[in-house]
Symmetry: C2
Subunit: 199 residues, 2 copies
């Protein structure tokens, strides 16, 4: 016995969400069918809209449906002399929530990982080089995750900065090695920013 | 700083899934945007189709997009003399997976819960009475969950069966008290069916 075709398809569809297996997907499907059809229809629409319209910011590469994200579109922050490089939009949000950093961002959307075939072009290095070439950036704060790949990526970008005579610094103490930036509390992140060291 | 409107709406939409909070919803949203836009679009479509077309089986009340579910539409099972009453379609699936029960079902889509305002009419009692009145059902196996509400519901239905001169039995040993039917292994369920007792 299986569920009806439309229910089976819904369960299969929900399993494309990270961390959702067969049992959770079933539970979600029946919860929506029984108790929240309106919410499910609204989710259906949100998924469609986001997948169709969300692209990358033309300047910092974060996700946005506009040409430029809010920060890049801001006349002060968008042309700020200090640029913070992060791996993901979630990391950018975590830093924004500390309200300590007032500069611009560059979002790698990943990190260097030769084993997975992810090279410099995949994390926007040509675009970053282009931005540094313009001369408006004076310091790049490397806020990649304190993992092996994050460190390697930071060093790669530090070299790129050197080529363009831009100071590169690395966020420092407070960030536990092997941790993920997204899950670190604001206070720790604030200290890591304050304690950054030139590379 | 917030995410762009479409991303914020997507995160809000994902939070209508049971067990999904802000952090999980963010993780899901970015996972889909970064790695599985096709899967997300397909989920969007599946959600829409299921919410628009899945109704209740006209006979057993389980979810289906057809007039009758597969089991009720089966000429032998649909008119079987033994009817198993369960709380949810998931419980029905759990029992089907033991492949021991060959009769028909009646799915309550819940249980009696006066405190939540859920009375007999909300769990299909008029429809069940109607079905028993037809005289084709000889035994009703009460497979509601072994919880306080599940037991109360079973006793309510046992009384209904008595009124219609239909044998009512309760699945018995093997099902731990306080457990949820959906999560019990097939072997235990098989024993519970075999050891049922007349009420
Ligand atoms: Zn931007
Ligand atoms: Zn049915």
């Amino acid at each position: 016995m299986k569920f009806s075709p439309l229910i089976s398809e819904l369960i299969a569809g929900l399993k494309c969400l990270p961390g959702v297996g067969q049992k959770s997907a079933q539970r979600m499907a029946f919860h929506l069918l029984e108790r929240n059809r309106e919410g499910a229809l609204s989710l259906s629409q949100s998924l469609f809209n986001a997948m169709e319209h969300v692209k990358h910011c033309a300047k910092c590469r974060t996700f946005t449906e506009s040409q430029l994200c809010d920060i890049c579109a801001d006349p002060i922050r968008g042309e700020h002399a200090t640029m913070c490089v992060v791996e993901s939009p979630q990391d950018m949000l975590a830093i924004e929530q500390t309200a300590e950093f007032k500069g611009r961002y560059f979002v790698l959307m990943g990190h260097l990982s030769p084993i997975d075939g992810i090279g410099p072009a995949d994390i926007g290095m040509p675009e970053l080089a282009n931005e540094l070439k313009k001369g408006a950036v004076e310091e790049v704060i490397l806020a990649t995750n304190p993992t092996v790949e994050g460190e390697a990526t930071a060093h790669y970008i530090a070299e790129l900065c050197k080529e363009h005579n831009v100071i590169a610094s690395r966020i420092a103490h407070g960030v536990p090695f092997g941790g993920e930036l997204e899950y670190i509390d604001g206070n720790t992140l604030t200290h890591a920013f304050a304690g950054r060291k030139a590379l």
